[in-house]
């Protein structure tokens, strides 16, 4: 399976999904007006990951900002991870936030409460 690399832009995040080591990273800003289009290939890639032979997947979320259009797509990404976990693979999420960013911490807690994949909140000085 190929890696999925998308370079970040002013309103879209950097996607660095590495198949060989199972490390997936979404970083930067996710504030497009219509996020469905942007997240479509990401969801599709995760769908193929589900049927691949990779059995351990870690998704790192290192977002500085995300808008409400993205939040439903991020939930879709997490739901895909649930499915991946559902087929017997080891899937987990690490949600990074800057130590003084209460809103991003709360957003991580919100997602953690509604998804069935282990989500670890990790505080850092700077993303």
């Amino acid at each position: 399976m190929e890696n999925l690399i998308i370079k970040g832009e002013a309103k879209t995040p950097t996607i660095d999904f590495n198949y060989s080591n199972g490390e997936l990273v979404i970083s930067g800003r996710s504030i497009p007006e219509n996020s469905i289009e942007f997240y479509k290939p990401i969801i599709e890639w995760l769908e193929s990951l589900k049927v691949s032979d990779k059995d351990k997947i870690v998704l790192d979320i290192k977002l500085e900002y995300f808008n409400t259009s993205s939040s439903k797509c991020i939930l879709d990404v997490f739901k895909k991870l649930e499915e991946i976990k559902g087929v017997g693979k080891d899937a987990s999420i690490r949600w990074y936030y800057e130590s003084d960013d209460e809103d991003m911490e709360e957003a991580g807690q919100d997602f953690s409460a509604i998804i069935k994949v282990p989500l670890e909140l990790i505080t850092v000085e700077e993303l």
């Binding site: 007006e33 996020s35 439903k72 939930l75």
Partner: protein
């Protein structure tokens, strides 16, 4: 408009501590530029990071609301009505003001929605946000019904809004979101 009138407009905006104002058509690129300009201003004013984040987040949602919803029935209104955006410094933070023309039929629903949001406690707002996040509904334009809830959660204050009849088919909807330290 003569040159003295333009100066009056300028002075009025200046007196109200407006750091950015725009009236016209909002495109995706312009939206990006406005966000960029505001980020630079907030840096230049040495605003604390939490204030910068809140202003940025709320402005993103306000601008995208305008962007997604200012396209009202174009058959009825020949020209796409322009929107207005202002960011003004207040005594203890910022006010983000937006205005756009909406169909008269939308006034009641929008007014009820915002009145309801203003009635909710912090915890109730969070619950409604989570319910809406997980409802699986999406508009074709990518909206998910979360914008105003997010704005209210980030602002932590009541949303100020109003409607002014524009003509027999439309009304002008104004929203003022307060961000304080």
């Amino acid at each position: 408009m003569d040159k003295s009138h333009l100066f009056e407009v300028y002075e009025d905006l200046d007196k109200r501590n407006v750091v950015l104002s725009f009236k016209g058509d909002l495109t995706s690129d312009l939206l990006t530029s406005i966000l960029h300009v505001i980020e630079q201003k907030l840096d230049r004013y040495n605003e604390p990071t939490p204030v910068k984040r809140k202003v940025f987040n709320v402005l993103v949602e306000c601008l995208q609301n305008l962007y997604l919803h200012s396209n009202i029935n174009e058959q009825e209104i020949k020209d796409k009505p322009s929107v207005i955006v202002m960011v003004a410094k207040s005594d203890n933070g910022y006010n983000i003001l937006t205005g756009n023309v909406i169909a008269k039929e939308s006034v009641k629903l929008l007014s009820e929605r915002l009145t309801n949001i203003n009635r909710l406690t912090k915890e109730e707002l969070k619950q409604l946000y989570l319910e809406t996040l997980t409802d699986g509904k999406r508009s074709s334009k990518g909206g998910g019904g979360l914008g105003f809830l997010e704005i209210a959660r980030k602002s932590k204050q009541k949303l100020e809004f109003g409607f002014v009849p524009n003509n027999d088919k439309t009304s002008f909807f104004s929203l003022n979101v307060k961000i304080t330290q």
